[in-house]
Amino acid sequence: MRVFFVGGGISYRALFNWIQPGMYVATMLGSPLFQILFFTYLGRYAGSQDDAFYIVGNAMQVAAMAGIYGMTMGIANERQYGTLQPLLATPANRLAIFSGRALPFIANGIAVSVFGFAVSWLLLDFRPAEGSVPALAVAIVITTSSCVALGMLIGSIGLRARDVFFGANLVYFLMLLVCGVNVALDDLPGWLAAIGRCLPLTHGIEAAREIASGAALGDVAGLLGTEALIGLAYATAAYVLFRVFEAEGRRRASLETY
């Protein structure tokens, strides 16, 4: 438990210790705010959906910023900064090391997403259905956790790949296209929509949109369950890869070789 909480907390603080609070606000709050504004106004110009479609989609998606970039760095930076060998030399439980890193990023992603909804309420006159906030909160928690699981997978690949941040950036931007964030899945070509359905975020956004327009939590239980299962599958794959790359790195003495 100590490795899980303290290890995860230290890893998170290490990621942000170089950045000043003002920079953190600019990156984690400013950028998501302008992303929401940009796509909502672009949506108004295109005229295909109402504001709520873009607000909910983007306010959910911005959680992926912490989930994917943060989690990728949380794991892959160990290799980049030369701390991977000492970390893996410890007898600490690998599952605790690995999953403990996820918790702060889930909290961070939730905070960013809540901020996105709050500024949309303030600046874009977004009004979710009355009494929908608790259910919306559940959707945010599940979807953010799924995004973090995807970030874990990319981070694990970073234990072997040379330029994992290219992959993290690419995935983040592709999610804007294929996960129903700004384009309804029905308007995408079938193969793109199929990719989107295999990724975290897609079902969570769909659930959040239904909740925001008045659906009860029970009505979207299937969507949220699917989102959680997808997240679990990615987290499992990430952990398996982490262990495989650890074993391979030890066997070939290539833990920190690029």
Binding site: T27, F34, F38, Y45, A46, S48, F166, L174, N182, L188
Partner: protein, 255 residues
């Protein structure tokens, strides 16, 4: 001497940036993804027939991103590589060393325009009919050059701040909005438009659209040139001051 310095510096940095996976992402893949999102949005909405408008806008978004991250990050990368002191200490004025770099970052943004036009043509059947090809042939390089000069101004303000590249993340979307690259300014609150007037992408975008859809692009091209000259003057002034401060505070190489 100065022309040779500019040419060699520009060529070197264009090659370096072209070899960077990050800049391939920013100047090719990201604009294609954003163009695709916008294509699908306008196709399913009530703006059908505006694909070329969207493709050009997404292309210019890519030029801005490349300039922003390239110019903002360039100083930081030189710091990390330990070459910033050498560049500042070299005999030519620092502005003459830095300008080719910032223009190179906007130049690779041309990949964005080519990529979004080709993408739109191949996958969305977008017609490539330009009303005034000659004006377009002047408007595009002028826009790129003026953005490179804007990059110089950005770089001159980033030089003293160790984490200034974090600001780059913040500045991407607001400038896309304020310069009307994809979203017409008439949809935004009235106070946004004056911000765009001092940013060359606004006039560059208008010039390119005038050239593509019919109209007179020359006044906008002239505005781009004028703003570019102003950016260089301001950038040179700021750079001299920042350089002096960095030397006196010994903060130039701090990472």
């Amino acid at each position: 001497m100065t022309a040779r310095l500019f040419w060699m510096g520009w060529l070197f940095h264009v090659k370096t940036l072209t070899n960077s996976l990050f800049f391939v992402l920013v100047s090719v893949l990201q604009p294609i993804i954003f163009a695709s999102i916008a294509f699908f949005m306008v196709e399913s909405g009530n703006q059908a027939g505006t694909l070329l408008y969207v493709a050009l806008g997404a292309g210019l978004m890519g030029i801005w991103s490349a300039t922003l991250f390239g110019s903002g990050g360039a100083i930081q990368w030189q710091r990390w590589q330990g070459t910033l002191e050498l560049l500042v200490g070299a005999p030519p004025p620092f502005v003459a060393v830095l300008l080719p770099l910032t223009v190179a970052t906007s130049t690779i943004g041309i990949y964005s325009v080519v990529a979004t036009l080709a993408w739109g043509r191949l996958f969305f059947g977008m017609p490539l009919d330009f009303a005034h090809p000659l004006q377009l042939a002047v408007a595009l390089p002028t826009t790129v050059l003026s953005l490179g000069m804007l990059g110089l101004l950005l770089a001159s303000t980033f030089v003293l701040y160790r984490n200034a590249n974090a600001f780059s993340n913040l500045l991407e979307y607001p400038v896309w909005l304020a310069t009307g690259l994809l979203v017409p300014l008439t949809l935004l609150p009235g106070w946004v438009a004056p911000i765009g007037w001092v940013l060359s992408p606004t006039w560059g975008m208008r010039a390119i659209r005038q050239a593509a859809f019919g109209g007179n692009a020359w006044p906008e091209i002239a505005l781009c040139v004028g703003l570019g000259i102003a950016y260089v003057a301001l950038g040179a002034l700021a750079l001299r001051n920042f350089e002096r401060l960095a030397r006196s505070r010994a903060t130039l190489s701090l990472t």
